[in-house]
Assembly symmetry: C2
Homo-oligomer: 232 residues x 2
């Protein structure tokens, strides 16, 4: 493993405060892989052998049922997935695949659990991470149950804008069909939602987004920290 990878992981909230020996122990069993795009990383139902740490690139976490498929979330660097399964020694609830060329560190779940059992700082960091994950999915569920698809798109755009400097123009950052799945709609429906937002202060050309009337968009989106603020 590169020293820079090691440093990036070390600085993650999850690993930041832990004992050096324990960190070393985790890193000893770890290995790094470079994946091309569209590679299957995990399959839901399989045992969670490794805690994945995404160093760069991006990965999609999705789920299937009865011939249908939906995207649950998109992982961006630097972050881990899926911690809950690793800690509980439970099967994955989601499948995963790379979207772009991605660099991923694999930490054997057994090592993670062993260190978790011994290192109290790490155990508490795991709590923070899980609490945040929990609140994240909960917000997602609220988003799904309380909003229509156009409203979800509108809020997604506002949030994405805020996370990318807040300027009026930015990139969509995701293929449209995957964004559609992420937002819980079909690609056709996303196309129509995009057109519907033209009357509400948004222009989207290809992957380029322009918020032409922020106030107007907010009037439609009605964002609230209790759904849309990732730090809340």
């Amino acid at each position: 493993m590169r020293e820079t990878d090691r440093q990036e992981i070390r600085h993650l909230p999850l690993f930041r405060g832990m004992d050096s020996n324990n960190f070393d122990r985790l890193m000893r069993g770890a290995y790094v892989q470079n994946f091309p795009p569209q590679v299957d990383l995990l399959r839901e139902g399989d045992p969670s052998d490794f805690l994945h740490v995404l160093i760069n690139g991006s990965a999609e976490l999705f789920a299937n049922w009865n011939g249908r498929e939906t995207t649950m979330s998109v992982a961006r660097p630097v972050s881990t997935f899926i911690l809950a399964a690793t800690i509980q020694d439970a099967p994955w609830l989601m499948s995963g695949r790379t979207l772009e060329k991605s660099r991923i560190v694999l930490l054997p779940s057994e090592d993670v659990r062993a260190v978790f059992a011994e290192d109290n700082v790490f155990a508490r960091a795991v709590v923070s991470e899980l609490a945040q994950c929990y609140r994240g999915v909960l917000k997602d569920a609220k988003n799904l149950k309380l909003r229509t698809s156009v409203e979800r798109l509108a809020n997604y755009l506002l949030r994405w804008q805020a996370e990318h400097g807040g300027g009026p123009t930015f990139q969509l950052g995701l293929e449209k069909r995957r964004l559609a799945a992420r937002l819980g709609m079909t690609p056709e429906n996303l196309s129509r939602s995009i057109r519907a937002l033209q009357d509400h202060g948004v222009q989207i050309n290809g992957t380029q987004v322009e918020i032409t009337d922020h106030a107007k968009l907010e009037t439609l989106a009605v964002p609230t920290p209790l759904i849309d603020d990732p730090r809340c």
Copy 2:
């Protein structure tokens, strides 16, 4: 607080293994309240002053946005809510109200956090609880995104049956309008879904459910542990 309450709490997975002194410390600051039905317990957005432990009765956790409301989950005894907010010292993401006459123990969040900081066994129990909560909401989100409302109802019935002895007849255990909100549909839509299930091995009269053809219902519901098994 009654000694029996104390014992019930002590036997919860969250508190089972912790140091007695720390448990005592939690209990010293705790107080018990008996609430009538339909009492507001928490309001989303408020600071999470107390960890709630439901001793008996039942409570609904719900969320509002833009004039709409939906039920996120229904708490049954003996269980805690909402741990993540308490640990993170973050605002509640859901509101709560009693459904029945309920007995609830309130643990000051500050005490919980203080003990969490000191007691390593407790800290690890918190991890288990949070991991389970996380996986629970995640399954909920999969349920919402992958299934139609009739399919959600069918799977709800199968699960409820399994959790109540597995016999062919059982009680619904929830007002229909709340069940509707819990499953992400309107009461009218639930009524129609119930009728739709008559052709698939289910008879519902008032609050009485009878599974007349389990195999047929499963053919429609297609349950999977990765969504429907609460212990998975």
